[in-house]
């Protein structure tokens, strides 16, 4: 429990730095376990309030239960929910059959970029964790994105002690990653410790299957698992050597590397 509190203290510090230093700040919320923990940490940091909007980039292909859950918590926690969608791409019939990377780029990356451009956000908080996959391990807590939303991972500014990059030229924005040091197990341990409401798609409800990572319905597949409680999930994770995102089709090959350079979450 002590290690969870240490992680919490650091994330809360980062969230408060973000809130203090960015006038036009927003947090991405995909309703998955990570961004929901992030949302909970914001409530911790600001004593029950969430003083910035929550963005959901809706691809229209999300699992319906996720949307129900989103609207329920938004009402209960009095959240300022902003839903964005790349309507043009959808109208033009974009879907995963056009290619996964193409679809993700259009509906998620472009959806987010459009939303950022439209609302003029200068700081975006995301629930990215370093242990998810390789490119995310290279992130800073405060990571600049250029005018096109692209990420120059080769030349990142230094990050020293608890001093983060909070100044940036006009037209660029900063991605803020308070969960960088958390692992998948930590997320579940914390959900348990704080009793955070989560979508039950993460649990096996008798089919011997559950989701380990949630994305769009066509590109996310449940894994074989009999974990019916948070404790059982933690127990299962303790013994698995299978990558968390193995149920996510976009990670195959060089998918993630290409996506993230262009500004994918």
């Amino acid at each position: 429990m002590k290690h969870l509190r240490q992680l919490e203290d650091q994330s809360v510090y980062i969230l408060r730095e973000a809130y203090k230093n960015f006038d036009n700040l927003a947090m991405l919320w995909s309703m998955g376990k990570d961004s929901t923990v992030l949302l909970w940490l914001a409530r911790k940091a600001f004593f029950g309030h969430v003083p910035f909007p929550l963005l959901h980039v809706d691809t229209s292909y999300k699992i319906p239960a996720m949307i129900e859950y989103r609207d329920r918590l938004a009402a209960e926690w009095r959240l300022n929910l902003v839903v964005g969608q790349n309507k043009e791409a959808l109208a033009a019939g974009m879907n995963h059959e056009k290619g996964r990377v193409t679809c993700c780029t259009a509906l998620k990356t472009m959806g987010l970029k459009n939303l950022v451009a439209e609302k003029g956000y200068t700081g975006i908080i995301l629930g990215v964790r370093a242990d998810e996959e390789g490119t995310r391990a290279k992130e800073r807590y405060f990571s600049p994105r250029d005018k096109h939303g692209d990420w120059d991972f080769r030349d990142q500014p230094p990050e020293l002690w608890d001093q983060f990059k909070t100044a940036f030229p006009p037209g660029t924005h900063i991605r803020i990653h308070p969960l960088l040091d958390w692992t998948e197990i930590n997320i579940w341990e914390y959900i348990k410790l704080e009793n955070i409401p989560f979508i039950d798609l993460y649990l096996d409800k008798g089919t011997g299957m559950r989701y380990r990572s949630l994305g769009c319905a066509p590109c996310t597949f449940p894994i074989k698992s009999t974990a019916k409680t948070v404790d059982e999930i933690i127990e299962e994770l303790r013994h698995t050597n299978v990558a968390e995102r193995s149920g996510r089709a976009q990670d195959e090959g060089r998918g993630m590397e290409l996506l993230r350079k262009d500004g994918y979450m």
Binding site: K2, H3, R5, Q6, L7, E8, D9, Q10, V12, Y13, R16, E17, Y19, K20, R43, K44, A45, F46, F47, G48, H49, P51, A130, D131, E133, G134, T135, A137, K138, R140, F153, R154, Q156, P157, P158, E159, L160, W161, D162, Q163, K165, A167, F168, P169, L180, D181, T183, I185, E189, E194, I234, R238, H239, N241, V242, A243, R254, E257
Partner: protein
């Protein structure tokens, strides 16, 4: 040699520890990391096979170093580009390993990685021996505050696992580290490539009796934030989301309890902790300690801002506008004397400039070189900084976190420093007077907050500076009339009136004492809630010398400094507005009123309750 230790033994981690791997380029950091993961069964299933397949495809030999190279570009260049973080669990501890590349160009990544590490593994190639980067990294680790260092002498296979080669390197490097009082936790001979002394004990080096690298990780002690030290609680922000006014921040040293009296530096305000606020924690905590991000409410509505450091009264931080530090510079543009930078220390941010570059430290032999006008990229130097306004800090030997800072050049953090010395500035004496006076200040029943509510504005001082016949008095009068006509409580403090009254006992003009008395009178008037309007007339041409004293004595009230001149000239430090030979005094007065609004002194409209939060 690979021993695939069963992943099944992995247990739930009870603690995390951040480790950085540093060393000269090509001395084997990535290989060591890959090996450590492979030999402890910590890689995701299929990872080795996947990387082996890529290697086959690209027609090159498999390297353990490739396991963590997420970007294909990197594999092409063969250099790990950025500080990657990876995780593994061993013996109920979860390690976050930061792989910091050693290529010269990438020192900033090494520094970024090491700055958040609790312990370090420093690699030295047995064949190449101690190189410049091996020394530089060792030195920087100590500057960055990494106290636990284990030295790993790698590629022992290339020197036939000879004990004398190892002993020579060990001796040389220990001597180097001892110059800045670092004692390595362990010095271990290994071959990362062949897994000797990584996860399992080597049979090729029977002469070595110490721990393996994996054992050494377990031997690193978990540093707990010091709760015994003097309290330091830098204010990160002040929240008023609901009825509570919460002072938020992270305690950097010591501990705090409900009922403790806090002193905020540099404003010298004090109040008692009423509650410690927390979300989803029942019952509410009554104590908090170093490392925790907390929020407290105070018994009095004092106005404090981000940047101040709360402490106990008998152990307050230092306050000065001058400090000496050891600094490392990472910026593309060299650090230059006289150039303006932003200094960030804990949550304080202040404009600063380099007053002196005493010397450049040669990290290869710790020799010194006379300092010049600049500090180049990747250099370490001893430097004196002067900040635009006084800040609170500690010596880094006393309180680490409030004893270090970063320097921002334009948009990026370009350097970091640890404070080695307080340089007493000329204000020290008056600052001490002001502090003692503020601590003992006897208040009436009407607080500052109540007064501000009643008046519809906060107290402040408008200070008109400039040479003779520049229109200061005229503008001051105009401003007073305008403000009073608007319903504000403003008062023109004319130094001439002090000279004939309060200062009548002073024979020969004593400029220092005149300034002190002037400052104290202004302080009293500010305490009554007035907007004091004053000019530097009583100081004649010597007004520039009097300004810092006045500022020190009225601290922390907002000062709106307005400079007037006949032509363009150098402005006194911290000038807010400048009028060169104004013709239109009404317009000038209006601009000052706008500035008062901008600084949060005046609410936007008369009668509206001010909502801003600033000191006093």
């Amino acid at each position: 040699m690979t021993t695939k230790t069963q992943a099944e033994t992995v247990t739930k981690p009870s603690e995390t520890m951040q480790i950085v791997i540093v060393g000269h380029v090509d001395h084997g950091k990535s290989t060591l990391l890959g090996r450590l993961y492979a030999d402890t069964g910590s890689l995701p299933e299929g990872k080795i096979e996947k990387v082996q397949a890529i290697c086959r495809q690209q027609g090159k030999e498999f390297e353990y170093a490739f396991l963590f190279d997420a970007f294909l570009e990197e594999q092409e260049q063969g250099i790990t580009i950025d500080t990657a973080r990876t995780f593994f669990i061993w013996n109920s501890r979860q390690y976050i390993i930061i792989d910091a590349p050693g290529h010269k160009e990438f020192l900033k990544n090494m520094v970024s990685g090491a700055a958040r590490a609790e312990a370090a593994l420093l690699l030295i190639d047995a064949l190449e021996g101690v190189k410049e980067q091996s020394r530089k990294h060792g030195y920087l680790l100590s500057m960055l505050g990494v106290k636990q260092v284990t030295v790993v002498v790698n590629k022992m296979d290339l020197v036939s696992y000879r004990q004398d080669v190892f002993a020579g390197i060990e001796k040389e490097y220990r001597e180097f580290l001892s110059q800045f009082k670092v004692v390595p936790a362990q010095v271990i001979p290994v071959s990362a490539k062949f897994g000797e002394n990584i996860a399992t004990r080597s049979t090729r080096m029977p002469w070595y009796k110490g721990p393996t690298v994996l054992d050494a990780l377990g031997l690193f002690k978990k540093e707990t934030a010091s709760t015994e030290q003097a309290l330091r609680f830098p204010v990160q922000d002040v929240y008023k989301f609901d009825a509570r006014r919460i002072i938020a921040g992270r305690i950097t040293a010591g501990h705090v309890k409900v009922g403790d009296r806090l002193v905020f530096s540099p404003s010298n305000k004090t109040a008692v902790v009423q509650t410690i606020e927390a979300f989803n924690i029942e019952p509410s905590p009554t104590e908090a300690r170093a490392g925790q991000s907390v929020g407290v409410t105070l018994d009095e509505q004092i106005f404090i801002e981000r940047g101040e450091i709360a402490s106990r009264r008998d152990d307050i931080p230092l306050v000065s506008s001058t400090l000496r530090a050891n600094l490392f510079w990472l910026g593309q543009t060299p650090l230059a004397r006289g150039r303006k930078y932003l200094l960030r220390l804990a949550t304080q941010e202040v404009d600063c400039e380099v007053a002196a570059i005493h010397r450049i430290v040669d990290t290869a032999d710790l020799g010194h070189q006379e300092g010049g006008q600049t500090v180049g990229k990747n250099q370490v130097a001893e430097v004196t900084f002067r900040t635009k306004a006084p800040i609170a800090f500690d010596l880094s030997s006393i309180s680490e976190i409030t004893g270090r800072f970063v320097v921002v050049d334009e948009y990026d953090i370009a350097g970091g420093g640890i404070i080695t010395e307080l340089v007493r500035d000329e204000q020290e004496f008056l600052r001490d007077e002001a502090r003692k006076r503020d601590f003992a200040w006897i208040k009436g029943e009407v607080g500052i907050e109540a007064r501000a509510q009643h008046y519809g504005h906060r107290a402040a001082i408008v200070l008109l500076t400039g040479g003779e016949h520049t229109g200061k008095s005229f503008l001051a009068r105009k401003l007073e009339s305008l403000l009073v006509a608007e319903g504000r409580h403003a008062y023109l403090l004319d130094g001439e009136n002090l000279r004939r009254g309060l200062d009548a006992d002073m024979g020969e003009t004593d400029a220092t004492e005149t300034a002190r008395r002037y400052g104290e009178v202004a302080r009293l008037l500010i305490d009554t809630g007035l907007i004091v309007i004053s000019t530097t007339n009583p100081f004649g041409q010597a007004y520039r010398q009097a300004l810092p004293s006045i500022r020190t004595l009225v601290n922390p009230a907002p000062v709106i400094a307005v400079h007037m001149s006949k032509a363009d000239e150098e402005l006194p430090p911290n000038t807010d507005l400048h009028f060169a030979g104004p013709k239109n005094f009404d317009e000038a007065a209006k601009q000052i009123i706008e500035e008062l609004k901008r600084k949060g002194v005046l609410a936007q409209a008369v009668g509206v309750r001010p909502t801003f939060q600033y000191s006093i």
